[in-house]
Structure formats: structure tokens, C-alpha cells
């Protein structure tokens, strides 16, 4: 995927953009509540959260459209907070683009360069180059309303890149496109951003978009950043219940630590006993949640044997019995909702990797669901 070509982000280098304890209040309500964040040069960073979590406000403060109530924004050591938007080396691609309807595509892209008073031939050269990069050269004379949604999106991208900003802000960059087009465009946009080599902060509520495009993701909720990490880190090692639940789907078991060793932990929950094959930072007898992703679970009628686990010690652990209550066949995979003995419902997905699977389970079957201890994540908050 595109990000593999990307320099290891967020490691080693001095921070290019540093946010320090940013707080933004609107009257009594706190939109952004003490966000600190370092962003490395050249990375694409996604702020991911549901609507109203403060991610757009944070982005608008980077653009200069809102003033932080307190805190500091340093871009290459330069304090941005006091600068009005037109003096910041930052450009933004607005949600649903905000293209100027009375100007042609060409003039939209040239708008920013003209404000800088660049010579005419330099403006022409840079606009042409930018239009070529987003493959819109033949459309220069059209007005925005004469373009398709995907073309408008590319004009907006060209307009925000043509001034060669130090920092590019994307506000729900693909939110206005339909699903098929969005998937294709995501990688195109990443390619263009890498060609230009600009550092980018994007805001999205779509986790697939964030995971496809970004090298690192910050999960936001109620004005705070809960976890920052690469997409894989966030998905496989969420640091709290909110993140685990927000990214993808997850089965959570509430339980109590009964055995706490350096290399494994045993947690008892009403549904089953969990053998976690890695140590945790916690105390014995502590109340915790055990999380397991649906695709990392097995489902079959027979009870799992030693060969089914990666460690035979786990036999007798990490397994629960139940009945299939609902199943959804999605083509590539099937989702099973299994009611366990305690009444809890777990979700298990199984890839349909054979075309005629005789062993496909039917609604109402009595089944065993099981999982590996190495796939369990223990959450203490």
C-alpha cells in the first residue's frame, strides 16, 4: 500500500508541527480539551473521530479560522497562533471544497498565486503544472458547477497545493464522493501528496479513509486525543475501550485477573476463562475488559482441540459455547451472531475462502467459538 513507500513516520525526527496543550472553548462548552501532538515532516496524519469530537475545530485552528483559548501551535519553530489565515504557510482543502463558483477552474487554482503577486508567466506555469498533476488540463476553462464531484475534488486539491504550503489541511477530503469513487480517489490523493512531499493533517470520521490514507492516526473523542499510532497499532493494540470499539468491531468480555504472571495472565469472566499469552500492567484481582476482534475468532460445531490453538496450554480456556442467532452472508465473509450461555452475544466473522463450503453453519446451530491467547487485548480503562 502507498504508505509503505513513506519514510517511517513519527519516529526520530524533530517535530515539524508541534501542538502544545491546545484548548478551545465556545462559551461554556469545551471543544478541544488540552491536545498536545507532534507531527513529523512529510507524514499524513489523520484526526479520526465522530462528529462533534473537536477534530474540525482543531483543524480550523491550524488554518487560522479559530483562535485557541490557550496553547501553542509551532510550525518549524514559528508560532502560528497570532497569524491570520492569509499569512500562514498553510493551505486547506475545505469540506465539499468551497470552490469559487464565479471563477473558472484555472482561476480557482490561480487565485492564491495571484494574491501573492507572482509574475504572470510564473502563475501560468505553476497552474498548468498543477492541473496536469490532477489530470484536469482540458477543464481549465470550465466553471466548477460544470464538473463532476470527483473533478471538483481534484480542483480543490490543486488549489490547496499550488501555493506549495508547508502544511496541507484536508477537511473530510472525500466525504462528498460516493463509495466506489472514494476508494479509488483515496490512493490517488495520497500519491499526489507524496509527489508534492507536503506534510498533511486530515480530518475524517471515516475510519477506512483514515487507515488507507494516513501514516498515523489520532483518535479523538470529546475534545481529547485518546490514542496516536499507525493504523495497525491502533487496530491491534487499542489502549482503551473507546478506541477498541470505535475502530472496527470488537467483542468485549468483562472479567477479573486471577493469575498474573510475567508471560501470561488468566482472566475469569462469566462466559469463559481467558488465557492471555502476554503479560499486562495490572494488579491481580483487578477488573478488566478482554477484547477480541471478530475475524480472529474461530467458529465450529466440535469443541476445539490442542491443534486448534497456537499453544496447547490454552485448551480449556479461550472458548465458549453458544447458538447461532443471526448470520449475515456478505459474499467475502459471513458474520455470525452467537448467543453464549450467559446471554451475551459475540460477533464472529469467517472468511468464505471456499466456494462450496459443505460445513457452512446454519442458523440455530450449536457451536463453539474460540480464539488464541495471543490475539486477546486486555483493556484496563
Amino acid at each position: 500500500m502507498a504508505r509503505s513507500a513513506h519514510p517511517a513516520a513519527g519516529q526520530g525526527d524533530a517535530p515539524f508541527l508541534r501542538l502544545t496543550s491546545i484548548v478551545k472553548k465556545f462559551g461554556d462548552s469545551v471543544a478541544v480539551d488540552g491536545v498536545s501532538l507532534d507531527i513529523t515532516k512529510g507524514e499524513i496524519f489523520a484526526l479520526l473521530g465522530s462528529s462533534g469530537c473537536g477534530k474540525s475545530t482543531l483543524l480550523r485552528m491550524l488554518g487560522g479560522f479559530e483562535q485557541p483559548t490557550s496553547g501553542q501551535i509551532l510550525l518549524e519553530g514559528q508560532d502560528l497562533v497570532r497569524l491570520p489565515p492569509n499569512e500562514r504557510p498553510v493551505n486547506m482543502m475545505f469540506q465539499s471544497y468551497a470552490l469559487f463558483p464565479h471563477l473558472t477552474v484555472w482561476d480557482n487554482v490561480a487565485f492564491g498565486l495571484r494574491r501573492d503577486g507572482l509574475p504572470k508567466d510564473e502563475i501560468a506555469e505553476r497552474v498548468e503544472k498543477m492541473l496536469a498533476m490532477v489530470q484536469l488540463t482540458p477543464y481549465g476553462k470550465r466553471k466548477p458547477h460544470q464538473l463532476s464531484g470527483g473533478q471538483q475534488q481534484r480542483v480543490a486539491l490543486a488549489r490547496s497545493l499550488v501555493k506549495r504550503p508547508k502544511l496541507l489541511l484536508l477537511d473530510e477530503p472525500l466525504g462528498a464522493l460516493d463509495k466506489k469513487l472514494r476508494e479509488r480517489t483515496q490512493l490517488e490523493v495520497v500519491d499526489i501528496i507524496h509527489q508534492v512531499g507536503v506534510t498533511c493533517v486530515m480530518v475524517t470520521h471515516d475510519q477506512e479513509e483514515a487507515m488507507t490514507m494516513a501514516s498515523r492516526i489520532g483518535i479523538m473523542s470529546e475534545g481529547q486525543i485518546l490514542q496516536v499510532g499507525r493504523p495497525g497499532d491502533i487496530y491491534e493494540t487499542p489502549n482503551c475501550m473507546f478506541v477498541a470499539d470505535f475502530i472496527g468491531s470488537v467483542n468485549l468480555f468483562k472479567g477479573r485477573v486471577t493469575e498474573d504472571e510475567a508471560d501470561h495472565v488468566i482472566i475469569d469472566s462469566p462466559e469463559c476463562r481467558h488465557y492471555v499469552s502476554h503479560g499486562i500492567t495490572g494488579t491481580p484481582d483487578m477488573e478488566v475488559h478482554v477484547a477480541i476482534r471478530p475475524e480472529k475468532m474461530g467458529i465450529q460445531e466440535a469443541a476445539p482441540g490442542p491443534d486448534d490453538y497456537d499453544n496447547p496450554v490454552e485448551v480449556g480456556f479461550n472458548c465458549a459455547q453458544g447458538t447461532i442467532r443471526d448470520l449475515a452472508y456478505l459474499g467475502d465473509q459471513t458474520i455470525y451472531h452467537v448467543v453464549l450461555g450467559t446471554g451475551a452475544v459475540v460477533k464472529v466473522t469467517k472468511a468464505n475462502d471456499a466456494r462450496h463450503d459443505e460445513a457452512r453453519l446454519a442458523n440455530g446451530s450449536s457451536v463453539h467459538v474460540w480464539w488464541w491467547g495471543s490475539d486477546l487485548v486486555v483493556l484496563t480503562q
Binding site: G63, G64, F65, P84, P85, N86, V90, N91, M92, F94, Q95, A98, L99, F100, P101, H102, F111, G112, R115, D116, K143, H145, Q146, R159, S160, K163
Partner: protein, 303 residues
């Protein structure tokens, strides 16, 4: 299938009917009176009645069209042309001042907090609740030599003696601006309130100062409102009679008063009708040309 044909037929008829209602209205209240006026303007007067245009006397069909009045207007008496030009001038100045005052007015109205907007709009329209004549008369009281403004200024020692304000181009223009300002503000407001603030943010983001963003984005996008407001002020101002009559003076020659004099002082209906026909053409022709140009330049439509 028959039902489909019936429906499309009904749809067709229905659409024609909907269009025909305003067409009939325009025919009745604009085209017919205009034709009547035009007919009078080319008629010969015989005592107290107009001579028919077509007469049948002794086997001779006679069509008699009298264009003398038009010759007088255009070539013989320069009073009319001066009055037209002066009217266009006053209407133009009034429109310009209304735009200069009305634009910021409408802008702040459109940017005010949504809760207080209905109240502000109500205040804008409040003057319409009192009679137009009454309001114009009130200006007489304010502007007269011993009127409120002069008296206050003298009492405060700002002026030594009264300044003549009534019956001057100043009082006329003031009265017209005062009367027609809401007609400028309302279409501008309707346009500006719809404007997407994010466009201004985008302009600022791309390096425009607030002033540049205003001139490059807000003003071009409000062109529709500016044109509508300007027409609503300019057109009635050209033919305005009441305000020049009450607030104007010897220096404020306007075609509305000339028209009135022809009708009621000279009792020369054909001449008055000719003046009216020329005035209508004077306004309609540039407007039609402008509309044509406008339609061509925005082919494909704007959002």
C-alpha cells in the same frame, strides 16, 4: 398507455396554463395600456375627441398617423431631451448612493445573528407602514429654511444663517434615496444571506486579505443582487413624479413633472402620451439589451 398519453397531454396543458396566467396579466396591465397610450400619441385631436386612425369617407380609406409630437420631442423643443437626461442623471445618482449605503447595510444585516435578523428586517420595512406622502412631507419640515435641521444648527451655533436645502437637487436626491433605499437593501440582503461563508474562508486561506476577499469573492457573487436592487431603484426613479413635485425645485427638471404638465396644465394628451412612450422605450431598450448580454455571458447558468 392511454393513461400515459392523457397525463402527458394534461401536463402539457397544465404547464401552458401556468405560463399563460402571468402572460395574460402582463397583456392586460402592461401591453394593452401601452398600446392605448401609443395610439393617443399618434392621434389628431378634434375639439375634445380623438380622430380615429382609420376613417372611411366617400369610398376613401384613410389612415392618419400624426408623428408631430415625436418630432417636437426629438428635434424641435430641447426641453424634453433635457428632462430625459436630467431624469436619467438623478435616477443614476440616486441608484449609486443607494448602492453605496445599501450594500454595507445589507451586508451587516446578512451577517447579523440569525435571531435578530427578522427584527432588523422589520425595522427596514417599518417606514412602509406610514403613508409615502406623509413621509415625503416630513422631509419638507426637516429641510425647510426654518425647518428642524436649520433651526437646530443655528441654535447650536454651527450655522450663522439658514442654508437653502429645500427645492434643490440635494433635497430631491435625498428624498429619492430615502424612499428607494429598502428596494436596494432587500434584494442585496436576500443574495448576501445565502452566501457560503466558507468561500471567504477559502479566499483568506489562499492569501487574500479581508478586503481582497470582499472584492474578489463577495462582490462578484452578489452581482445578481446588485443588478436587481439597482433596477428596482433606477426604473421608478426615472419616471418619479411625487418626490420632484414636493421636494424638487427649478433646478430639478424631471420627465415625470413634464408629463404631468402636458396632461393637466396643457391638456395636450397626445403630447403627454408621446412623452410617456419615449420614456418607456428609454427604460425598456437598455434593459432588454442588458438582459440579452446577461443571458449570453452566463450561458449554462450560475449556481
Amino acid at each position: 398507455m392511454w393513461q400515459g398519453i392523457l397525463e402527458s397531454f394534461m401536463g402539457h396543458v397544465g404547464r401552458r396554463f401556468v405560463i399563460s396566467v402571468p402572460m395574460v396579466f402582463l397583456l392586460l396591465v402592461f401591453a394593452m395600456p401601452f398600446l392605448v397610450v401609443f395610439k393617443i400619441s399618434i392621434s389628431e385631436v378634434d375639439g375634445v375627441r380623438f380622430v380615429d386612425l382609420l376613417t372611411w369617407v366617400d369610398g376613401v380609406l384613410k389612415l392618419q398617423l400624426k408623428f408631430t409630437n415625436y418630432r417636437v420631442i426629438f428635434f424641435e423643443d430641447d426641453l424634453y431631451l433635457r428632462a430625459y437626461l436630467s431624469s436619467l442623471g438623478f435616477a443614476g445618482i440616486t441608484t449609486g448612493i443607494c448602492l453605496a449605503i445599501g450594500y454595507p447595510f445589507a451586508y451587516f444585516l446578512a451577517r447579523s445573528r440569525p435571531e435578530i435578523r427578522p427584527g432588523l428586517l422589520m425595522l427596514l420595512m417599518l417606514p412602509f407602514w406610514t403613508s409615502f406622502l406623509l413621509r415625503v412631507y416630513a422631509w419638507k419640515m426637516l429641510l425647510a429654511d426654518n425647518g428642524v435641521f436649520n433651526n437646530v444648527a443655528i441654535a447650536l451655533g454651527v450655522l450663522a444663517e439658514p442654508v437653502k436645502m429645500m427645492n434643490t437637487p440635494f433635497s430631491l436626491t435625498l428624498g429619492m434615496v430615502y424612499t428607494y433605499l429598502p428596494f436596494m437593501v432587500l434584494p442585496l440582503y436576500a443574495n448576501l444571506v445565502k452566501m457560503d461563508i466558507r468561500l471567504l474562508e477559502a479566499a483568506r486561506d489562499l492569501g487574500a486579505s479581508p478586503w481582497q476577499a470582499f472584492w474578489r469573492i463577495t462582490v462578484p457573487l452578489s452581482r445578481g443582487g446588485i443588478i436587481a436592487g439597482a433596477l428596482l431603484v433606477f426604473i421608478p426613479c426615472v419616471g418619479e413624479f411625487v418626490i420632484p413635485e414636493l421636494l424638487g425645485g427649478p433646478q430639478t427638471l424631471m420627465i415625470g413633472r413634464v408629463l404631468w404638465d402636458e396632461f393637466f396644465s396643457n391638456n395636450d394628451w397626445p403630447m403627454a402620451s408621446s412623452v410617456a412612450v419615449v420614456m418607456v422605450l428609454l427604460i425598456i431598450l437598455p434593459l432588454a439589451l442588458f438582459n440579452k448580454f446577461q443571458a449570453e455571458s452566463t450561458q449554462g447558468g450560475r449556481r
